[in-house]
Symmetry: C2
Subunit: 328 residues, 2 copies
């Protein structure tokens, strides 16, 4: 038997509960992990609310990221041994697999070793954030000298984008609505921090870029703010739209886009993880830059597994700076 | 003295009038054309209405396209001789230059020879339409085997896109709301014609592409229809947004875009004509394919200069299939 987190109806954080279930037995191509740390993601909040791309079938387990020790592998699993220290790459259906629990059942292809000098909490915090932000490098391509606008920058992906921009010699401009987060964003490597509470904030970004506009914008918010983001982008620059934190409708930023021939790229991690070559390039980039200490995951706070409800509440508070981790 | 078309206030077609003005004398870098034919564009309708990117100062002349004979050149003009048979590339400010008249004043860089086997009416109909549709090749890139959705396909740019798709071995799917235009679109080379009066039209496009979706969409309409256009596009496909014929607001097609990692490229001819290398590639492509009879401008109807008001009325009727030309 093992304790795993499940919800029996969609809803707020308190629908999450620890259920004692028979320990799953990995089938062909699967592996069972003894979990040491779980990385939390916005996707799981949305899944729990029934608002994700994928609909849960209750009672449902959940979770994209965990670090742990391989405890058992199913038939036909190659390149993975019992005892290996691995973490999970979000490249699977949350309806079928899960990471929130004392154990995690996962497809073997979604497990990768992480650098031995990282703690399990850090190991559970690398793939979603760095592979998502890696889209900037794969598709931007983000290069030395580029100005890069990073909205909602205190999220784990936002911080990853800041670090990766610095790693390639680009100039990250971070935004937040929360004044108290500004120093942390500067500490994390933002060359400039712009507060978006003031509607005139795009003017500040224009000033920073000497009127030219940013080369790339990386935005998980959309909604009406997308028009302001578009105001900050240079002629033929690119906006990555990689989430929809705003609950308001999103007008297409037609005027800015047509005036300056903007490119808007709707982007999700799936376009990396479902493409073996991109995934391989992304993983290698991340291994190389972790080893060179050019990037390093920032943990906002850790919670014990018993406090999973509080951990989700904390995510919804939007007070965190970096990754929320649950340790087991 | 020369007769040129001007308007003394913005408004409907009947604000256009023939004014007798002193024949302009070309200054440095400019040329004067004895006009033989004028190609009409939607941009001029919008300019006349005061709804274009550029605002007119009344009394204002207008016009992007004309074919004619070089009558005079200003100082510092190279590569252009009096007597040359040329037509204009829309790469200048309509506030400063014009083509609607017995004469046209234009920057010399905007004049290019056109193939001698084309009539002046055809010569006045090539640059806007083919250079605009050339964006598909430059940026798509549109390639053999691609399915290409072309909305508002009976416009001159739409027909140009159909011809260019066929020229590279792509499969053009043309849309129209007007049943009577369907045969003409087939004659023009559309592999499929889809009527968009029925809201379920994206389903038909999905069927044509065996469920996969089109590789490229080329849309000058936007408005609420952009969401339906997005439904037809394959994973990681591209939508070119190159106009805004719709007077309704345009919601960002978030669900389709995020589900399939779509790229939306806001695109105007300026990104070609203000970039010498792209312009050179585009012109060469057009010369080569005109010579090979792979593309050929379709003239909807010609009007005499005295009937310029009727010509603009006809454009606004949206009944035309191809280019409206005024002969002088």
């Amino acid at each position: 038997m093992a304790k795993i987190v499940r919800f029996h109806r969609t809803g707020g954080p308190d629908v999450l509960q620890l259920d004692e279930v028979p320990t799953p037995k990995p089938q062909a191509g699967e592996a069972l992990l003894k979990v040491e740390a779980i990385g939390l993601n916005r996707a799981e909040v949305m899944f729990r609310q029934g608002e994700y791309l994928e609909q849960p079938e209750v009672p449902s387990s959940l979770g994209y990221e965990a670090a742990g020790i391989v405890e058992a592998v199913g038939p036909d699993v190659r390149g993975l041994q019992v005892g290996d220290r691995v973490s999970s790459i979000p490249s699977f259906s949350m309806g079928k697999y899960f990471t929130y629990g004392e154990v995690a059942l996962l497809p073997a292809f979604a497990l990768a070793k992480y650098p031995p000098d990282l703690t399990p909490a850090e190991g559970a915090s690398i793939w979603m954030q760095y592979l998502t932000a890696y889209g900037l490098i794969e598709f931007g391509p983000m290069q030395a000298g580029n100005y890069v606008l990073i909205t909602a920058a205190a999220s784990s992906v936002g911080l990853a984008a800041i670090q990766m921009a610095n790693a390639v010699g680009a100039i990250p401009i971070a935004t937040t609505r929360n004044t108290t987060k500004e120093p942390a964003l500067q500490d994390a490597g933002a060359a400039f921090v712009v507060n978006t509470k003031n509607d005139k904030w795009p003017k500040r970004v224009r000033e920073i870029t000497s009127g030219k506009g940013v080369d790339l914008a990386f935005d998980p918010i959309v909604g009406p703010e997308l028009e302001r983001v578009a105001e900050t982008v240079r002629t033929e620059g690119t906006i990555f739209v990689y989430g929809r934190l705003s609950s308001e409708p999103t007008p297409f930023p037609l005027f800015a886009a047509m005036s300056r021939n903007l490119l808007i790229r709707a982007y999700t991690l799936f376009s990396i993880v479902t493409n073996p070559e991109r995934l391989q390039r992304g993983q290698q980039w991340i291994y190389d830059h972790l080893a060179a200490k050019k990037i390093h995951p920032i943990i906002a706070r850790t919670f014990p597994l018993a406090d999973i409800v509080d951990a989700h509440r904390f995510m919804e508070s939007n007070e965190q700076i970096g990754k929320i981790v649950v340790t087991v």
